[in-house]
């Protein structure tokens, strides 16, 4: 298992290097002179040129990229053009906000989506099932930023119950979480429903019922545990998606997260901050994907046994190789 984790982490490195290259390339070709922007439109040409030289902006692409990567390996993401603060300092303040919102979003989506999906499957073709399917379809098709605006309109402007922007207390989280999680709830509900429908038709479920097990036990112990892998996959995808996908909704609710930081940085042509934000968001997404893959092993004993089986196989193979080598050596003797 540890070998698998190490292998997955090792495989993340080339992907992250590739991401850094793509983003650096995009930022390299983005129009606008950072030196001019820092000094302002009224600055002397000579001053701008001197700053360009100082910042290494006159160097070639690869020279700049390798310098950036060298700095990155030392944990330096560069300096923000606008605030003159280290990029990591700016990101580290915003990162917990985005992570916290994404965590609550996925928690809310699971708490609502999984039970509704199960209920919909158990009561297939009833009115509950129909309503669930229609709502799930709406959840998937509705733009989250539009839903966010509607929620603000109703709960903040009309009723005045909840705050519309910022993140200064628990009540500020309610509207962003509902709006961002709508699509995730819909997708998790659909997956939970279809996964449960597949499982509850299996013979072992009938056997469990025939044994006289309570329906609750049949559903949650026998059915849900076996239907969990597709649900987990989708939860993982949604969690990873909510980290990056919150970019738009962070704008709507003025949430001081990494998404808003990135969009504001793009508008200000603050490239080191954009590159850093994209890298951190991509790293987070990769880590969530890895975490979900590892979670499979804990949930499904069949997958867990695969790791140990591979280990045993390797041991057996090594044993056989050693034995063969021994026999060959004996023969030679």
């Amino acid at each position: 298992m540890l070998r698998y984790i190490a292998k997955r982490i090792f495989l993340m490195i080339p992907v992250l290097l590739g991401i850094s290259f793509v983003i650096f390339l995009l930022m390299y070709f983005t129009p606008g002179d950072p030196a001019q922007m820092i000094l302002g439109d009224m600055a002397d040409k000579e001053d701008v040129e001197a700053l360009r030289e100082e910042m290494g902006l006159n160097d070639g692409f690869f020279e700049r990229y390798f310098r950036y990567m060298g700095d990155l390996l030392r944990g330096d993401l560069g300096t923000s053009y606008t605030t003159k603060l280290p990029v990591w300092d700016e990101i580290s303040v915003r990162l917990p906000v985005t992570a916290k919102v994404a965590f609550f979003v996925i928690l809310f989506a699971v708490i609502i989506g999984v039970p509704i999906g199960i209920l919909s499957a158990v009561r297939q073709y009833t009115i509950i099932d129909s309503i669930t399917r229609v709502l799930a379809l709406l959840g998937i098709t509705m733009p989250s930023f539009w839903f966010a605006l509607l929620l603000v309109l109703l709960f903040s402007v009309r009723l005045g119950w909840l705050p519309a922007s910022g993140l200064y207390g628990p009540s500020y989280y309610i509207l962003p979480i509902i709006s961002i999680s709508a699509a995730s709830i819909a997708i998790i509900t659909r997956t939970a429903r279809s996964s449960m429908l597949e499982v509850i038709r299996q013979d072992y479920i009938d056997t469990a019922r025939a044994k006289g097990q309570k329906e609750r036990v049949v559903l949650f112990k026998h059915a849900l545990l076996n239907a969990l892998i597709p649900i987990l996959t989708v939860v993982g995808i949604q969690f990873a998606g909510s980290l990056g996908g919150a970019v738009v909704n962070e704008q709507v609710f003025a949430i001081p997260g990494i998404g808003k930081l990135m969009v504001d940085a793009i508008k200000a042509r603050n490239y080191p901050l954009v590159t850093g934000s994209v890298l951190v968001l991509s790293l987070l997404q990769s880590m969530v994907n890895l975490f979900i893959d590892l979670l499979y092993a804990f949930v499904d004993p069949r997958i867990r046994s695969q790791y140990s089986r591979d280990k045993k196989k390797k041991k057996a193979l090594n044993g056989a190789v050693t034995a063969n080598a021994g026999m060959a050596a004996n023969k030679r003797k």
Partner: protein
């Protein structure tokens, strides 16, 4: 019965398209999706005839007016008719959705087919590149591309197209790998068919089903992505009507003029809903085994 019909030569031969259409037409939800799509496409094509006003006609005597018979969905801060802008917006959204997806699909299909067909190092290089593009959250990648090119419809088109390439490449690669070892591919190769001929004439026709499904469901996502970009001010720019940018603009006035927020959002939702209903139906019709 079938025997009798066969004896009398009455069995009608149906093409794969007819078979798919027959199954699709039995799916009521897919038909509803297709009907909505048809209406949207007609609206986009004949926007000049349907819209009561030009999309950029300003009337400073009728700014921020609530919905009325004269202005069905009200007017914006420049006195422009929102209904007309929603109608013209269908043209922009469908155009961006279709063109960007076609571009993304084309590139993704070519690279996916090459990766799946040749395997080995070629496959490794293409798929690792896809892993990199896939490693960046889609909206984040689209935002980064849009910011490089600069706001505008071209930037939205390219951003959405590039971000949809990895999905297509993966689907096509997997599908190609399942058919590349079939006898008909070997037969073509033994008859002297070169790789390009085999991919175009033998592989592609046999993996069209997953590509069509991915494309149909992908257009909805592309439209949503484009709307998100425009909402952030990085996609289609005013005065060109686009539902996402209309919502972004409406945000400023929604406290007092809430009607401005409603219609562009419904338009996006209806379009994506129609594409999803039709895409789901198409998936079931093209591969009945998938239907549960």
């Amino acid at each position: 019965m079938i025997k009798k019909q066969a004896e009398h030569g009455h069995i009608k031969k149906r093409s794969q398209f007819q078979e798919t259409w027959k199954r699709l037409s039995k799916n009521r939800l897919a038909m509803v999706g297709l009907a909505i799509l048809a209406v949207l496409v007609i609206t986009a094509i004949f926007a000049d005839l349907i819209a009561p006003y030009p999309y950029d006609e300003q009337d400073y005597n009728a700014t921020l007016q609530s919905p009325s018979l004269e202005h069905l969905m009200g007017t914006d801060e420049y006195g422009r008719d929102i209904f007309s802008r929603v109608v013209y917006g269908s043209r922009t959204s469908l155009y961006v959705g279709f063109i960007s997806l076609t571009g993304g699909a084309l590139i993704g299909c070519i690279f996916g087919a090459i990766a799946g067909f040749f395997g080995g190092k070629t496959d490794n290089i293409i798929m690792r590149t896809c892993d990199v593009l896939h490693g960046i959250p889609q909206i984040v990648l689209a935002i980064a591309i849009a910011s490089t090119i600069g706001p505008g419809i071209t930037s939205a088109l390219i951003a959405v197209a590039v971000s949809s390439v990895p999905n297509f490449a993966r689907v096509v690669r997997a599908a190609t790998m399942t058919v590349r070892d079939q006898e008909y591919v070997e037969a073509s190769a033994s008859l002297g068919g070169n790789n390009t001929h085999i991919i175009i004439h033998h592989i592609f026709p046999n993996i069209l089903a997953p590509i069509i499904v991915q494309a149909t469901l992908g257009i909805g996502k592309s439209i949503l992505l484009c709307a998100s970009l425009s909402f952030l001010g990085l996609g289609v720019q005013p005065p060109m009507p686009e539902w996402g940018s209309m919502l972004s603009n409406a945000r400023t006035f929604m406290r007092d003029y809430s009607y401005m927020v409603i219609s562009p959002g419904i338009a996006i939702m209806l379009t994506v809903l129609a594409l999803n209903l039709f895409g789901d139906g198409l998936r079931d019709a093209l591969d009945p085994k998938l239907k549960k």
